[in-house]
Symmetry: C2
Amino acid sequence: MTRGVEVTELVLRDGHQSILATRMAMEDMVPICEEIDQAGYWSVECWGGATYDSCIRFLNEDPWERLRTFRKLLPNSKLQMLLRAQNLLGYRHYEDEVVDRFVDKSAENGMDVFRVFDALNDIRNLERAMKAVQRTGKHAQGTICYTTSPLHTNDKFVEMAKRLQDMGCDSICIKDMAALLKPQPAYEIVKGIKEACGDEMLVHVHAHSTTGVTLVSLMKAIEAGADIVDTSISSLSLGPGHNPTEALVAMLEGTEYHTRLDKSRLKKIKEHFAKIRPRYAEFESKFIGVETDIFESQIPGGMISNMESQLGQQGAADRINEVLEEVPRVRKVAGYPPLVTPSSQIVGTQAVFNVLMGPFKVLTGEFADLMLGYYGETIAERDPKIIEASAKHAKKEPITCRPADLLNPEWEDLRSQAEKLGGFNGSDEDVLTYAMFPQVAPGFFKTRDDGPKNLSQTPEQVAAAAAKAAAKRNGITGPVKYDVKLNNRVHKVSIEPTEV
Amino acid sequence: MTRGVEVTELVLRDGHQSILATRMAMEDMVPICEEIDQAGYWSVECWGGATYDSCIRFLNEDPWERLRTFRKLLPNSKLQMLLRAQNLLGYRHYEDEVVDRFVDKSAENGMDVFRVFDALNDIRNLERAMKAVQRTGKHAQGTICYTTSPLHTNDKFVEMAKRLQDMGCDSICIKDMAALLKPQPAYEIVKGIKEACGDEMLVHVHAHSTTGVTLVSLMKAIEAGADIVDTSISSLSLGPGHNPTEALVAMLEGTEYHTRLDKSRLKKIKEHFAKIRPRYAEFESKFIGVETDIFESQIPGGMISNMESQLGQQGAADRINEVLEEVPRVRKVAGYPPLVTPSSQIVGTQAVFNVLMGPFKVLTGEFADLMLGYYGETIAERDPKIIEASAKHAKKEPITCRPADLLNPEWEDLRSQAEKLGGFNGSDEDVLTYAMFPQVAPGFFKTRDDGPKNLSQTPEQVAAAAAKAAAKRNGITGPVKYDVKLNNRVHKVSIEPTEV
């Protein structure tokens, strides 16, 4: 008898988020849902902050409608989402009632598994969301953001797991968003959690593949007792994404572990996304390879492209290496936060500012808030001098309480603001959309009735582009024919460019 | 105390062979040799059949000069080559004296480690080359080609290792050219070899990364006692290539194993090839991802592109899936040979013929020879009906002896033929070049004095192409200016194409 290992399929959320800039339209997911539903996954991750954002910002899709569609098309599957705890799917802390309402609505619309994380691993920020999930009777997964620093030890992560258990979570996730989790720590942390929390505590491991080493880490995590691991179907895997589902299955063959995944269905799912992927080439991550420098910089792939674009806007694209070296310094000053939304953006932007304007000469509002405790507690003490500068800059005092304790009730305000927007449909779901993306929601409400936009190329466009590229590769065999308007007369002419 | 694991760097041979169609010019390797020499590798693989072929076919480089250059630039490194045993670097069996002379000359020009393999794992084909290496005092590595079939069991591979040991090899290589070696068999075979051959027998594992799972296999092989593993620097790794060197280093950190590689030098090596690689984009493998279907078809990546091109020439490119399904049938008929040069080409081409003309209606000469035993013995019996058809087709009888036993002395003939060629320089090395590539050598001898050709784009061309692509991505902002010749007069006009 071999031990079963369960698998969460990421392709409908983190897979295309990491590789195709979250642009995949619902219409390209619908046809494959039945195969996914039958393939034997533990859960199907399909919803989160970036997909929600992309729905209303780019795709003119109602994210709640997307959720309901998944619910209908995946009747046998547990739907899973990634929830930024007190930040929900936004970038700030919300008052507790908003958290409760968001979780209620998500559960009501079909969500089953809530993976709840806080960017700083501040357990106080997780409490309300976890309680809300528990009240709905759905699966509450407590999350440890994995990172490395002089302060982050395996024991500390195990300690955090114990606190998550005390909070009543149904499972514990080790979330390795930057592919920093090497095999040995993967083994030790999972082993430690199982010892501290009991063998019956489900341990779920999420790892990106950027550094090329995390499939081995999943193997070691499984050997240490991990119950569930995250993968993405091979045709949307690797690079900044995740380990391929089929490779995980193959990896376990012949060992004392097995999955219950149906390989013939995996093949169909692979083929579906292999067909779809080229149509999103425009959005594809430029980085499809392996990058082990991340072990030193600890900077996730998506963060690098953000910083590159910020530098580019300042005409300083050539200073990316200085910024990469600055990030660990900023992180130390800030008490070694893990780098994940939103801390990755906050630290990254401050590093850009430091390089362009001098170290901490100019502080962003968000970085000042981070220094002052308005995002929560960090594992290490933050630099007192920069705290002082932050207080001066933000005209606020440092805090030590749970940040959301300072917030006033805001639900009614949010509703009345939303009600003023054209196209608002009166639902709590719309209020939540407005609450989380106040800049984007108004535009979306107005255009919602136009229906979803698919930003990919059509198969015909892809074929034409491929043919064109092939013609170019082979050299053009004859002159190209154009209609040329010259002195107001149109001539049919064959020409060749004077320069290439 | 942790146990040291040694590493062979593949980038100078199999790395660019697998990813850049073996096109890398010596001039792009020279500048990084010093870093490679100092990085702490067990050996540096830098020579083999495909690089030799590419040198004389495409790059107008003398492969022996390349070897001597490596010898000079890598004074502290063991140089390693891949040798097709009785086939040397060619596609047929050579008479024993030619084998002896090739090995002597290779050793004399600087080769240290000879990885000797036979495509059928017929141990008789390995004997002469192994003995030749032993006589030079260099390192003779006996190789097991890993494959899967109903007949290939872990025990059989261990048995073969024992026979290689009896032959006096200095180490044993498990060569997984199609990324079929899963973690558990990797563990069991290495363990089995160590038990059968003694712990002091060096075990070296070579694996491609195509299926996405073989870094885990390397981990398991190491846990079972493997002494040396093969990797390629990250910027020329993955896809049809190999696991990244830096990922291997990271994988072992914190475990009971360690490498002695210098990470700062690896970084420089990585950056060098990252800079070079885009210049060879034209030659880059289209398949840079993960493909687990190979576990079913057992077809290495390079073989698929071969078959695609053969089909394309017959206007039957759309029948590739039929061919992929035919390959395992052909392989069964032929007694389950591993698929590696030359058996991969022989089986692949016959599969193409079967699909286009009907099963075994037309036999290639090479396939008939394979069926009749002229490449050696296979693990399983070959199909008697097809043996009969092969005998009729080839007008030859089946044989059971070592194929090279049937060959007459040929060295003097080869020399006198070579001497007739313009540009032949009189050396035994040139005779060997002619012996191995009789079609290509005559042209190369003639043009040799023109000096090496670098087929990559210049950095300027790469930059221009990138700028052009960017312009295209962003949409062309104004009309494009051309010189148009119309009725024999040249007009300066601005135009836009009528179709894209």
